[in-house]
Amino acid sequence: MSQYTVPWIEERKYRPRGPARLVVALARLVYRLAAPVLRRFAGVVFFGGVVAVCLIVWLHALVFRLTDAISASAANGPAGTLFGGGLTLAELSAWRSGPGDKGLAVFFAEGLGVFAYLLWPLQFSLLRDLIAMGGVIGFISVIPLYTIWWERKVAGRIQSRLGPMRVGGWHGWAQSPADGLKLICKEDFIPPQGDGALFRLAPYLAFVPAICAFIALPFAGTYVFRDLDVALLFILAMLGIEVLGVIIAGWASNNKWSVYGAMREACQMVSYEIPLGMSLLVPVMMAGALRLTDVAETQRGWFGDWLAWRNPWCFAAFLSYYVASLASCKRAPFDLPESESELVAGFHTEYSGFRWSLFFFAEYAAMFAVSGLAVILFLGAWYGPLPQSWAPTGSGLAAAMVRGLLFDGPIVFILKCAFLLYVQIWIRWTLPRIRIDQVLYACVQVLLPLTMVVLLANTIWLLFDTPDYPLFHAVSRAIHAVLTAIGLALAMAITGLMTYGYLNRRRLVGALAVDHLPGA
C-alpha cells in the first residue's frame, strides 16, 4: 500500500463498549455456530420454514374453530364476565373427559392435558381477534420480503444474470432479511428544510391503509378477518388513501424532483381508480353482491366456472382491471413515480433506512391486495381448477391436505396470487416505461371508454342471457366454452414457458453462467 491513504481507511474498527460487548459477542457466537449449518441446509431451512408457517396457520384455524364449537355447545351459555368468556377451567376439563364427538380435536382431548387448558384464554373473541390481526400483519410483512427476493431473481434471469446468490447459501434466500437488517441500521436523515412532522408521517399514511385492506380480504371461505358486506369498496377505499402518503412524502422532502414524482403518482393513481372501479363492477354484476365471499361462491366448480371466462365482457374487464391495477400499484410500465433512472427515486428520494422500506412494504402489500382482488373476482378465488366434485371427502388428515392443496383453501388462493405477482414482475422487467402523457392518454382515452362500453354491454348481455331467449342463451354458452378453451390454452402456455425456461436455465444464460458461485 502506498503512503497516501484516504481518511476513511484510517478509521478505527468498531469496538463495542459496555453492555453492547455482551450482545455483540453473543451475536458473533450464534453466527459462528449457525452459519455452517444454515449454509449446508439452506434449502431445507427455507422450505421447512414455509411448511412450518402453513402448519402454524392451519393449527390456529383448527384451534379457533374448536373454541367456537365449545362455546356454542356450552351448557349454560357465557356468563356475564368482564371479557365475555364463559367457560371455567372446570367446565373445560369436564368437556375434555366427557362424551360427544370431538372430531379432529380428539388429540386435544385425549392428548397432553395442558393443551386443553390453552383453550381457555382463546374463548375471548378479543384475544382471538388480536392473534388473527397479528397473523395478518405478520403475513403482510413477510410477503414483501420474499416478493422482493423473487423479483430480483426473476429480473436477473430475464437480464441473463442470476440475481442474489450468496446471502444465506441457496440462491440468496436470506438477501431480503439481510437488507432489512441493513436498512434498520442506517442513519435517520430528515431533510432540515422540509416539514419534519409530515416527513415522518408519510410512510405510515402509505403503509397503514395497505394493512387495513387486508382486514376485508378473504383468503378462503372462513379465513377472513371481517367478512364485510361492502368488502370490495372497503379495499378500494384503502388503496385510494395510499395516494395521500405518497403526495405528502414528496412534499415534505423539500426536493422539487420528489414533488414531481409525487404529483405524477397522485395523478396516475387517481385517474386509474376510475377504470379500476368500473371494471370491478362487472363481476359484482355477475354475482350480485359486494361481499367478496359471495362473489367467490359463484365460482365454485371447476376452471370453466371462473368469472373471467363467462362472458367476453368479463374477460375484457379482467384485462382492463389488471392493467389499471398495474398503474395503481405504480408498477412498470407505469412506474414513473419511481422512475429509477429519471428522478433518482421519485417521491422517496430523501427517505433512507426503515422509512424507505415502509414504502416498499406498502407497495408490495398493495400488489398482493390487488392481485388478491383479481383472483377473488375473476380467477376463481380459493377454488382450484379441478372440479370440486373430485375432491376427497372425509375427515382424515390426508384428505384434508389434498383438499387444501388442490381444491379449496387458502393455499390455493396464495398460489394464485403468487402467480399474478409473478406476471406483474415479468411485465415490469419486459416492458419499457411510458411517459406521463402517454399514461394519462391510455387511461382517459383508451381504458375509460373501454370499461364503459364493457359495463354497458355486460348489462345488456345479462338481460338477454336467460333461458327466455334460447338462441341467445345457446350462443352465450358457446362463447363461454370458447373462452374457457382460450383460458386453458393461456394457462398451459404460460406454465409451459415457465417450465421450459426453468429446465433450460443454464443453456439460456449461455456464456454468462459461472459455475463456482454458491447455488449454481
Binding site: 375471548f124 378479543l126 369498496l233 377505499a237 385510494g240 395516494v243 405528502i248 412534499w251
Partner: protein
C-alpha cells in the same frame, strides 16, 4: 348478542375525539398543508362513526369520495398554489368582531338544539346493517328522481371543469 358492550362507547369517544381534535387542528394550525392533513383525520373519524352506526356502505363511500378524492384535490390545490405553507393571517378588528358575533349566534342555536332534543340513551331505531342490495334497489325505485338529479349535477360540474381547464387558444 354482544360480548363486549363496553367497547362501543370507547370506540365512539375515540372516533369522535379524533374527528373533533382534527377539526380543531384544521383551524388552529398555521401550516396550510398540515391543515389539509388534519382534514383527513376529521373525515376518518366521521367514517369511524358511520361504521359504529352499522352504516358500512356510507362509511366506505365517505372514505372513497372524501378521503380518497376530495382531500387529494384539496391537498393538490393547497400544495401547488401556496408560495409558502406557513401562512400568517392578521385579521382586522372589524373582522374579529364580526366573527365573534356569528360564532356566538351559531353557538346559541346549537345549544338550543342540544338542550331541547330527546337524546334517549340506547334506544336506536336502526334494525341492523342495511343490505347493500336494498340501498341499490331503493335508489332506482323510490329515490330515482334525486338520483338522476345528482347525476345531472355531476355532469354539469364535469362540463364546467373541462371548460375551465381548456387549453388557451
Amino acid at each position: 348478542m354482544n360480548p363486549y358492550p363496553w367497547l362501543e362507547p370507547v370506540m365512539f369517544y375515540l372516533c369522535a375525539g379524533v374527528a373533533l381534535g382534527a377539526a380543531v387542528g384544521i383551524v388552529v394550525s398555521r401550516n396550510i398543508v398540515r391543515s389539509a392533513l388534519y382534514l383527513l383525520g376529521t373525515l376518518g373519524g366521521v367514517a369511524g362513526l358511520y361504521f359504529l352506526l352499522h352504516a358500512n356502505l356510507l362509511a366506505v363511500i365517505q372514505l372513497i369520495v372524501y378521503a380518497g378524492g376530495t382531500l387529494v384535490l384539496i391537498i393538490f390545490g393547497v400544495m401547488l398554489t401556496s408560495r409558502t405553507p406557513w401562512v400568517r393571517y392578521t385579521p382586522r378588528r372589524g373582522e374579529v368582531v364580526a366573527a365573534l358575533l356569528v360564532t356566538a349566534g351559531l353557538l346559541l342555536a346549537l345549544l338550543r338544539v342540544f338542550t331541547t332534543t330527546e337524546w334517549s340513551a340506547g334506544a336506536r331505531t336502526t334494525a341492523g346493517p342495511a343490505p347493500v342490495a336494498d340501498v341499490g334497489t331503493r335508489l332506482l325505485t323510490d329515490y330515482l328522481v334525486p338520483f338522476e338529479v345528482a347525476s345531472v349535477l355531476l355532469l354539469v360540474v364535469m362540463i364546467g371543469a373541462a371548460y375551465l381547464a381548456r387549453p388557451e387558444k
